[in-house]
Amino acid sequence: MEKSESYIIFIIIATVAVLALMIIVVADLLLIYRNKQLKYRNELLALNSKLERTTLEVTNEVTEQVFSDIADELHNNVCQTLTLAVIHINQAEVEKNPLPNHILESRDTIRQALTDIRNLSHLLSKEYWLNFDIHQALKALEIKLISSGKIKVNFDVDPLVKFNSKDHEIIVIRILQEMILNSLKHSNASLVEIKLRNSNNGLGLWYSDNGKGFLSVNMSEGLGLKTMKQRLSLLKAKYHINSENGFKFEAEIPMKLVSNV
């Protein structure tokens, strides 16, 4: 090979090598840029999700606090006023016996209101939620629903299910209350089935009724369903809603469960 040719080959090799290096550098920079963009996007999503969760948690806390304040107000103020009214009627009865029937009936109504308000106050109070037990609450709910006679309820709750967080327990009962309320109010259901079981990844919750379903009664964007979804997101639950033949709901709540076994 002539010297000139070898020089030209060398020039070509050098130029190609530099060009190849430039291409590699540009490609690598583009990859780095893309990866950084993806990383920032994921970080942003994680931050948004965290913000959403914090907002929901705060909302939940505020709601519980408001409930507790209302309970205190009902117990300390309204009940006192009503008790005073009953005392006045009793006093009047002593002084001017017998009292007209409608006043005596009013006293009974006030007493009934007092009992209802005390029960409500008890349900809303912080102490109630501090000592809250989902099994007892579900039992009470079952009795209440059966005694109402409006709806037949099948409860299938594993007695071994135990939560390690009171907050999660409260959230689950609130979700169930929401669904029962919807079954009663909007779906015209006559049968409700609730199942609560330990699952592989935490807790399995099933709910179904034979009513019209959520979506058919324009509840898809309703406040009830929205609140329920917010609560489920607080639990980081995976859930599925089917509303074609009645309302069917199933959720898997990833939580550390404490078993009694």
Partner: protein
């Protein structure tokens, strides 16, 4: 008086050295080592100017300078890189390059009559690669700052060698077969050389700036 455009970059190099001298207190040990490179360049340029005036070939001057300059550049990189693996890789590459340069100068290309283009080609490609590696590590770690002289130095090297490797690879061929084209090619290299010193000067000037 005729202006020698080829020698204008020497003035830029001198300016870089003056800036470096004025800023030497703010520079670290390895940043000061960077200044050895323009110093060597300046000496080589002055010596080659004298030799040109006496019609003596300047090839040996640059044949000596290139392995020293490139090895020193790689050594500085090996001290600045963040990852230990990268530091070892650059250091080992530097030793291999040095060995290749000596073999090339002794047995392959002529030391006196020929420009050691193989050394320049291999060294240039290596400097380009590792200049990018320096930048890459800083980009990935989010540590890029104009106050880092090493980044200016790496950028200057990357630009200089990506342009000069193809240009200087043609040097021997042009000298032998197309002498009239050699001057424009040298001019390209001279402009490139001036850009290199401007980048380094900017790095040295920025180093002393107070944080905004």
């Amino acid at each position: 008086m005729e202006i020698n455009f080829i020698n204008i970059p020497t003035v830029f190099i001198l300016a870089t050295l003056v800036i470096g001298f004025l800023r030497y207190k703010s520079l670290s040990k390895y940043e000061l080592l960077i200044l050895v490179i323009p110093s060597l360049n300046f000496i080589a340029d002055v010596v080659s100017s004298v030799l040109i005036n006496r019609h003596i070939s300047t090839n040996f001057c640059y044949n000596l300078l290139i392995p020293i300059e490139i090895s020193l550049t790689l050594f500085i990189y090996s001290k600045h890189l963040i990852k230990k693996k990268s530091r070892i890789l650059v250091f080992v590459t530097m030793l291999i390059f040095l060995l290749f340069s000596i073999i090339n100068l002794l047995f392959i290309q002529e030391f006196i009559s020929e420009f050691a283009s193989y050394n320049f080609f291999l060294g240039g490609i290596l400097v380009c690669m590792f200049s990018y590696l320096v930048w890459r590590e800083e980009i990935l770690d989010g540590l890029i700052s104009p106050k880092k002289v090493i980044l200016w130095f790496a950028a200057a090297n990357f630009i200089y060698y990506t342009i000069s490797v193809p240009v200087m690879s043609a040097n021997n061929w042009l000298v032998l077969y197309l002498k009239e084209m050699a001057i424009p090619i040298y001019l390209i290299n001279s402009i490139n050389y001036a850009i290199w010193s401007v980048f380094l000067s900017l790095g040295l000037l920025w180093k002393n700036r107070k944080a905004i």
